[in-house]
């Protein structure tokens, strides 16, 4: 079937099998490899993408169901080749990852959280990432990364004297 998907601000017209999951569509048809298959039953969150700004599991949704909505993948939050968003940079600063497999999803969840709540508590961050499994880190440096990103984003456009 034909579908139209809006991904990272670009409209795509695709010919796919109706049963194609959004995850497989992104990876196999749009060559966006940053979303990863972890469990394909909606628990691990490695396939997370943003749908109209909300973190969802792309393994649990058929691609045609995403028509008419704005999809954002990890490729869409990366500012440019070799450039990192403040959230991505904070993950690098705290080493909020090891193997990198769950990382794009964690970064997207962090983007979604900070868009809603620029001043999250530790509990808010823990809650936000609690739907995403990471086997490497024990989460501590991921929580640190998101807190650091929040702090940096809050302080980014303020005169130096007003930064805390």
């Amino acid at each position: 079937m034909h579908i139209r998907l809006s991904v990272n601000g670009t409209e795509h017209t695709l010919e796919i099998e109706p049963r194609t999951s959004l995850l497989d569509c992104l990876r196999d048809h749009l060559n966006l490899k940053g979303a990863h298959a972890g469990c394909e039953h909606g628990v691990c969150g490695a396939c997370t993408v943003l749908l109209d700004g909300v973190a969802i599991r792309s393994c649990l949704m058929f691609a045609p169901q995403a028509e008419g909505m704005a999809l954002t993948t990890i490729e869409g939050v990366t500012p440019g080749p070799g450039e990192l968003s403040p959230v991505q940079d904070a993950f690098c600063e705290t080493h909020g990852m090891q193997c990198g497999y769950c990382t794009p999803a964690m970064v997207l969840v962090a983007h979604a959280l900070l868009a809603d709540n620029p001043n999250p508590t530790r509990e808010d961050i823990v809650e936000a990432i609690s739907g995403n499994l990471c086997r490497c880190t024990g989460y501590a440096q991921i929580v640190d990364a998101i807190a650091l990103a929040a702090e940096r984003i809050r302080g980014a456009n303020r005169p130096a004297g007003l930064r805390k």
Partner: protein
């Protein structure tokens, strides 16, 4: 041997791998695309044991997109059985079952199709007639004479039964006023990475090369593929520049690789098998140890343990590769951090009709540490002495290092008491106990748990000859090659895959440290197996020691070479020349020097300025042996497998909801001494991840089976990995006792946290429920089980 104060080593520097991962630009096996790739789906056995009477794949072959099916007889005729560790020729292991299937989920047949979906569709149309057979799941039952045999030709279910006696065990037991025995069980769990195992193979008949892309962490992977497929190793090219999405030991996938390699050669197209989660959990052969311990300790009135008898019974599952060796590694730290003077150790491994095991983080050390630490707590309880005090009385003291343990291993260094002192500084232990007692007075079940243990690191694999004398391996090398090209650019290599441990950062940091150049200016590559030097791969918590050691010595060789070139060109003896930050200068007249560019130019372009007969260019390599060398075990099984021993000390306060049985960790302190930390961010991550994994093994994770022999934890809804809610903040207290054996004093940290967390949690839970007259000694300590246990005990108390 320590290199003294460091510029990049131990600095809080970023991890170079991270940039690609945060952008979703890791290169995982499922990201690799080759034209015309075909996809594999598997048909698996629905019974725990069954004879395969007939296979009819005609309907499947007629399905859209289906290219081929292969069954056990075809594959067995074309390939050799997979390598096993023990000398058990009648327990062959193959990718597809031959005649008999031995666990529910075992692969019977593979379907190859244009897409994975088509292959899965067709797999459902394969008709197989089975004759179900008697089966055995429990290790103790498997030991019984009347047990069904998993491998009839082997004659029993026992693959290994070996008893070691080190020291005067009976004398020490007779001389001790007290003894107690304890049965503890480590449940069947594993590392369960978020990325399943995947492999793609492609045969080029004109080059005669099998290209293999795999999410692999395995020693001798290429060699095992070549052996099984009966092709020379010069025809197997494993691409090590694949990012592996977590492994922690289990990403072995040899049967997957042999299957895909065979199909790629048979069909002439790239063939790929990416496990789904069910395949990973049920048929991926990636379960971890399931071990029953019977431990007896003999101790004096002060709680000093003189001797220990340990019987470890391992349930291997249906087949065995290297998994039985997980009973061998703990021999190298069989007394933990304690001065136990004699040990009897009986290691038994049986097969059962469960999924096959492979190596899991710690390679058997975690279960053993758990057993020892539960015993030490029970000694304290028996004597009514504080468990921390009992440990202090038993710990090896700082001045006793290097310390020889009864099983023939010398611990390199340590300062256990100081680590503990730092964790409980400012009267912290007394305050923790006061808080526990306050909670108890408020009606809560509250407990404190300690886990003190060692992480052996950097071993030489002599657990192989220890348990199988036909194997004579006594090394596990690692290597680094450095080339400085004619522009002065530095490229250093590592020769294995990486699964999140930051090995490129390790090599860059070490080479940068030695050459005194910015590590970020050094390119690190991972050549394929045909272009590689030996590597033992990232197992055994070895890379900081072994790859770090190789990189250090390669860089030293390069530095020496540059110094010779500079001295000769300046016209001074070599011992008058010194290297600093890329330059070589005359110690007597420091202004007399040669710059990096000049040295590179001489080496690459000005042969006439080199010493006579000197090798031009600037290429060096070093193959590094385990710093304690490699000596085969003695006839009574004394052996030095691991050179370095990190220490960890867990201190936990938890409370248990008395109605639900749910433990809540209120405080988690972790003292850690892994010597010099090459990258503190990486070490912290390893410890935190290990603690989280240990929490899972202690409380949540189990590959549980029902009485019908079916694995009932087949998804992340049944097999529970800790989420961010289950992992509490951890207060990490670092201490550095450098190893005298390694180039910077580093020890391993790849298994840290995991090796002691389960013991500490179990001890804390037991401390909490002891007032009710109950105890738990079987992991995982599930909430439901604990809740029922507490409810029963309270009901009895109420009566």
């Amino acid at each position: 041997m320590s290199a003294g104060p460091h510029r990049f080593v131990s600095a809080d520097r970023r991890v170079r791998e991270d940039r690609r991962f945060v952008a979703g630009k890791g290169r995982f096996v499922a990201d690799i695309e080759l034209p015309n790739t075909k996809h594999v789906a598997l048909v698996t056995c629905p019974y725990p044991a069954a004879r395969i009477k007939n296979i009819d794949a005609r309907a499947a072959l007629a399905m859209p997109g289906v290219r081929y099916v292969v069954d056990g007889p075809e594959l067995a005729a074309a390939t050799l059985p997979l390598m096993t560790g023990l000398d058990t020729p009648n327990v062959p292991r193959r990718p597809l079952a031959l005649e008999v299937a031995r666990y529910s989920g075992e692969w019977i047949l593979a379907v190859v199709a244009d897409s994975r979906a088509q292959a899965e569709d067709a797999a459902e149309f394969v008709e197989i007639v089975y004759e179900p057979l008697a089966f055995v799941l429990d290790a103790e039952q498997a030991l019984q004479k009347d047990s069904p045999l998993v491998h009839e030709a082997h004659g029993s279910n026992v693959l290994l039964d070996k008893t070691f006696v080190w020291g005067e065990v009976e004398r020490d037991f007779a001389a001790s006023p007290h003894r107690l025995s304890l049965r503890v069980k480590w449940g069947r769990s594993s590392t369960v990475p978020i990325e399943t195992f995947g492999v793609m193979a492609n045969w080029d008949p004109w080059r005669e090369i099998l290209d293999v892309y795999a999410s692999i962490q395995m020693p001798r992977f290429a060699e095992q593929i070549g052996n099984a497929l009966k092709i020379p190793n010069t025809s197997v090219c494993v691409h090590y520049d694949i990012d592996v999405g977590g492994s922690y030991g289990v990403k072995r996938g040899i049967k997957h690789a042999v299957l895909c390699g065979y199909l790629a050669r048979r069909l002439g197209v790239p063939v790929r098998l990416i496990e789904d989660r069910l395949e990973n959990m049920r048929g991926g052969d990636a379960h971890g140890p399931e071990r029953l311990f019977d431990v007896e300790v003999a101790f004096d009135n002060e709680g000093v343990v003189r001797s220990m008898k340990m019987r470890a019974l391992e349930n291997l599952g249906a087949y065995a590769g290297r998994s039985p060796f997980q009973l061998g590694k703990p021999v190298g730290a069989i007394v933990g951090p304690y001065r136990i003077t004699s040990v009897q150790y009986r290691a038994i491994a049986v097969v059962s009709n469960k999924t096959t095991q492979d190596a899991v983080r710690g390679f058997g050390q975690g279960p053993t540490n758990f057993a020892i630490e539960r015993c030490i707590d029970e000694v304290a309880n028996f004597l009514r002495v504080d468990p921390l005090e009992v440990r202090r009385r038993n710990l090896i003291r700082r001045e006793e290092f290097p310390y020889l343990i009864p099983s023939g291993t010398t611990y390199d260094s340590g300062d256990y008491q100081t680590v503990i002192d730092k964790v409980i500084a400012d009267n912290g232990y007394e305050r923790l106990k006061a808080e526990r007692d306050r909670l108890r007075r408020a009606g809560k079940l509250a407990g404190i748990g300690i886990g003190a243990c060692l992480e052996p690191s950097g071993g030489n694999t002599t657990f192989e000859p220890l348990l199988n004398p036909k194997i004579t391996n006594s090394t596990s090398m690692d290597s680094c090659r450095i080339n400085v090209d004619s522009t002065g650019a530095i490229v250093a290599t590592m020769h294995t895959t990486s699964s999140g441990q930051g090995h490129e950062t390790l090599v860059g940091t070490v080479v940068g440290e030695v050459l005194q150049v910015d590590p970020d200016e050094i390119r690190i590559t991972r050549p394929d197996s045909l272009n590689s030097l030996p590597s033992g791969t990232p197992v055994a918590s070895r890379m900081a020691i072994m790859l770090g050691g190789a990189a250090f010595h390669a860089a030293q060789k390069l530095k020496s070479k540059l110094t010779v070139i500079g001295a000769y060109d300046i016209g001074i003896p070599v011992d008058r020349a010194a290297y600093e930050r890329g330059e070589v200068f005359d110690r007597l007249i420091p202004s007399n020097k040669r710059s990096w560019t000049e040295l590179v130019t001489i080496a690459h372009r000005n042969y006439h300025r080199l010493p006579k007969g000197f090798e031009p260019g600037l290429a060096v390599e070093h193959i590094y042996q385990v710093p304690t060398g490699g000596t085969l075990p003695t006839s009574d099984g004394r052996v030095q497998m691991y050179p370095c021993f990190a220490f960890e000390f867990h201190l936990i306060l938890l409370s248990i909801d008395p109605d639900l049985g749910r433990p809540e960790i209120l405080r988690y302190q972790f003292g850690h001494d892994c010597g010099t930390q090459i990258n503190p961010k990486i070490v912290r991550g390893m410890s935190m991840g290990g603690i989280a994994h240990g929490i899972g093994a202690a409380l949540y994770e189990e590959f549980a089976y029902n009485d019908d022999g079916q694995l009932i934890a087949q998804s992340f809804m049944d097999y529970l990995l800790p989420t961010s809610h289950e992992v509490p903040p951890v207060e990490i207290v670092d201490h550095e006792t450098p190893s005298p054996l390694t180039v910077f004093g580093q020890k391993g940290s790849g298994e840290s946290g995991y090796l002691g967390a389960p013991a500490a949690l179990a001890n804390a839970i037991n401390d909490a429920i002891r007032p009710l007259g109950i105890s738990v000694n079987s992991l995982p300590i599930r909430i439901s089980y604990l809740g029922d246990l507490i409810a029963d005990a309270r009901a009895k108390v109420a009566k």
